[in-house]
Point group: C2
Chain length 156, copies 2
């Protein structure tokens, strides 16, 4: 695959950044969801992954981690949040509150969060059906259902 071109990033190349984060999370024993916040020119402002297990921190979902890594920004309107999985309500709320202009979702088969709600409120939402993302997440949910349910606040 050619190197990502920051001036013309394809959706695939943007998603690859988030997917790399998700895979790194899995390798650490964590929940394999990754995200990255991009500037309009394709620059990665911040990237991150779910850190519930790694840091024992329930507040660090992938999108939150990417947002945090990007530091304080004055204006998010031209930014794009890329995530391997449909954003949960927590992460959807983040996108809406900070006015992040667009969201690129790797897949929403394993889990459907608030991406339709975001679209209703003016966020440009693109949902892919990336098989790599689906396989990574569905495999994880099958193998660690209790951890997955903890992460989305659905106790058994």
């Amino acid at each position: 695959m050619p190197s990502p071109d920051p001036l013309d990033p394809t959706q695939r190349e943007m998603l690859d950044v988030a997917l790399d984060e998700a895979r790194a999370g899995l390798a650490e024993g964590g929940i394999p969801i990754g995200a990255a916040l991009f500037a309009a020119d394709g620059t990665v402002l911040g990237r991150g992954r779910n850190r519930r297990v790694q840091d024992d921190d329930p507040s660090m979902h992938a999108e939150t981690a990417a947002f945090r890594a990007a530091g304080r920004q004055r204006d998010y309107r031209d930014t794009v949040m890329v995530t391997t999985l449909s954003p949960c309500w927590y992460c959807s709320g983040l996108v809406r509150q900070f006015g992040i202009g667009a969201v690129l979702v790797g897949e929403s088969t394993s889990f459907t969060g608030g991406h339709d709600w975001l679209a209703e409120h003016g966020v440009r939402v693109t949902v892919l059906d990336d098989r790599r993302c689906v396989e990574l997440m569905s495999g994880f949910i099958s193998s660690r259902p209790e951890l997955w349910h903890e992460d989305i606040g659905q106790p058994g």
Copy 2:
């Protein structure tokens, strides 16, 4: 004032914990919003305050900080999130996703977030009109409007 009784905490006593956090944030040069997550028996599971300025961290809103401080919990249905100010969409999303059962809001005059949306989705929401909270927040917004607008994602 008598010490809070963990078996019978009044709303005022619960709000005082959040308000103490908000005031500590102001004293640190931060945004004066505080929160605390309580167990059903009145125990404080976690407390925190907005840390945008203190930690240069835009992801640490008061409610998120309190949620984080509470660590990994299995079930939030019987917990109460107490906050000095109506929760923004980010923090409202947190409450909805993790199934926090109830929210106690100090005031919604200075800012109205997603508390009505939470009530529509089954969260038990109580909104007070606590003058101490209103004065703290309205005074801050008047004195630091640019910082406030940054914190809620509304660039000028």
